[in-house]
Symmetry: C2
Subunit: 400 residues, 2 copies
């Protein structure tokens, strides 16, 4: 509590609070805003004028895509600037530029080696950002926020990478500092699977309060939505399902994980482990895309390894379901998206292993946002930073 409550009470009925009502759709007309806030007509009018003058909102009537909004409604001004987004994985990255309503205007996919370190990787990200701006005819000055997803734990408030198992050279690196020279806007950084969970939740399952997102790709990770909020844990390391101990499930061989431990789920069931096993069997499998291709062509070794992977992941997901009691488990990442084998194996194992109460209303599905989940989650987080009521109030105060 403490300062937060105090701040909330002061800010709730300010211009930033009104913007939050418009953004969430709770109150988008003058009449409804007056009703909700208890403010007078003139105060509401004054604050709406200030929000428009600063470019935060626009009359909804001016847009053709407003759907069912009532006459006289306001909405976020989508043309007030752009956001730059990057979803960096272990071996590939997506970059995009979107408008303030989170519609993607241009995008690119690239290979990347995250272990090349922050200067090399973020240098590429920055170069691609400039290409995207040029492609859409925007200037750096129009960038209102930057969102970056990384395949490792991030201390969210500082945007600092903390002891990432696979990101050589990144430990302790503060990502926002890299962009500070070229951009003055907020830079928001989070673990990739957190962004995917957030993107999937807000974009496809906003009514679900408890969602567990499982990324099955080169690595395996989880994103936790509880009571509709992303839970990052005390040091940003929550969701580390890839290093749960499953060693005795496959007692005939002990695999060493890339974290250094033995018996981790990842060492048996992740994309990198499947590549290792397929290579040992004489197949060409350098990355998860190769694994997916082999399985799609019906190569038996690939199909069997994916099914075994699904069962092992299912054992760990069953444990997470018992512990967290979500109503929805979403499987995402390259291997979950390409393969019905994985979904079926995870489902079968979770329903067999979990208590009836935990699975009674439990759905297990693959990601609806697919490859866009991470980018969309980044856009959500950046929007949250830009439109935070206290930030909006401060901007308006300064512009007087």
């Amino acid at each position: 509590m403490g300062d937060t409550t105090v701040l909330n009470m002061a800010v709730a009925a300010g211009p930033g609070g009104i913007l939050a009502l418009i953004r969430s759709g709770e109150a988008v007309t003058r009449a409804r805003i007056m009703q909700v806030t208890g403010l007078s007509r003139s105060t509401v009018a004054q604050r709406l004028d200030a929000l428009m003058a600063c470019g935060y909102i626009a009359p909804a009537a001016a847009e053709t895509s407003t759907g069912g909004r009532p006459p006289g409604a306001f909405q976020i001004n989508r043309d007030a600037g752009v956001m730059l987004l990057a979803a960096v994985g272990a071996g590939a990255m997506q970059v995009a530029v979107c408008d303030m309503a989170r519609t993607i205007l241009a995008r690119q996919s690239h290979k990347v080696a995250v272990a090349d370190g922050p200067a090399a990787v973020l240098g590429k990200v920055a170069a691609h950002f400039d290409e995207l701006l040029a492609q859409t005819g925007r200037a750096r000055a129009q960038v209102r926020g930057i969102g970056i997803g990384l395949p490792g734990p991030v201390e969210f408030a500082a945007g600092k990478v903390v002891r990432p198992p696979i990101m050589t050279g990144w430990d302790g690196y503060r990502v926002p500092d890299f962009f500070a020279a070229d951009h003055t806007c907020p830079v928001v950084v989070d673990k990739d699977v957190n962004l995917m969970a957030l993107g999937e939740h807000r974009g496809a399952w906003a009514g679900v309060t408890h969602l567990l997102f499982i990324k099955i790709s080169t690595g395996i990770g989880a994103g936790l939505i509880m009571d509709s909020a992303l839970q990052r844990g005390a040091q940003g390391a929550a969701g580390d399902i890839g290093h749960l101990f499953v060693g005795n499930i496959e007692p005939e061989h002990t695999e060493i994980c890339r974290c250094g431990n033995t018996g981790c789920l990842e060492a048996y069931a992740s994309g990198w482990a499947i590549c290792r096993d397929l290579t040992a069997k004489g197949h060409h499998a350098e990355n998860v895309r190769d694994v997916a291709d082999l399985a799609q062509h019906g190569v038996r070794d690939a199909v069997e390894l994916l099914q075994t992977s699904g069962r092992l992941i299912g054992e760990s997901v069953a444990g997470a379901v018992s512990l967290l009691n979500p109503s929805l488990v979403v499987l995402g990442g390259e291997l979950a998206l390409c393969q019905s084998y994985v979904l079926a194996a995870v489902r079968e194992t979770v329903y067999r292993r979990s208590l009836p109460l935990a699975t009674r209303n439990l759905q297990i599905v693959t990601s609806k946002l697919g490859h866009d989940a991470g980018l969309m989650g980044a856009a959500q987080l950046v929007s949250d930073a830009i439109y935070a009521p206290a930030v909006v109030d401060a901007v308006l105060e300064q512009s007087r």
Copy 2:
């Protein structure tokens, strides 16, 4: 969002909001309340008068135990009534009556068989409540709230027991209905380990945002505090660590759990499993109290079983730590409180199994509140219900 935000904005600066500031200690004087709420001196005075007239608050000066409160401070009026509390376990229960500041005025401990069903068990609880009222010279009309902890999943909003593994006859039972004939006050019901987690968090570790409470008693369960809030999951079943799969950790024998599954943690490491194993070895061990007594007398079988239990619990706690990234794990319940064996074994296993990031700032301790954690958590939850700002506003509105 939706209705909640609307409600929060309307209520924040009302009398209930002011009471919340006093209760939390954020603002306890007229001057500070004016500063925080932005309300005028006369409005604040009027609302404080109304709160006093309804008995919610009292001048702090009238108390001798106010410590460092400034002159002119207000506080919760501890004499405005009493709360009745019951912490019902599988084989024993504690009942208590406390004042509105959560100081226990009288208490009792009794044996109980929770599988006798709700009518029998709650009938005993109600009878003990009447005894406690008589003992402290209070009438039923002075009871402002009732809090009940039960050893099974509870749909919190309705106070309804849902598919409890060990509570025969309770499935679907709405506990508040039982008390409706004799009491008109709110009746709050939750799973026992949730109350213990809440009691421990607010009572001993309020500054810790991520706390995992593990109850090691007849059964094994977990209570999850994340971002300083209790997380119950979608159906109130979160924290079900006792039924995580550990079967292959002890591959030489497969034990059937009381939930019907095989290989659950509880089937090897819980109080009932240890009683089973001690009995098989010829010892007299009917309940966790007997187990604790044997271990305290240095009986080798009991000590060894507790150590093995601690290691198995540690494996599951390590998984929970990877998934939730708490900064504090608290071990409570009969077996955790009596035995240094258990704490040492859990610690050793968690630090060995978990990733460095998750354990870098992790503390593992035994409960500070000990046997009182459940009762104190119940008192916290009942207070939250009684002093909810919207409820206070409604009461004041009606009393005009």
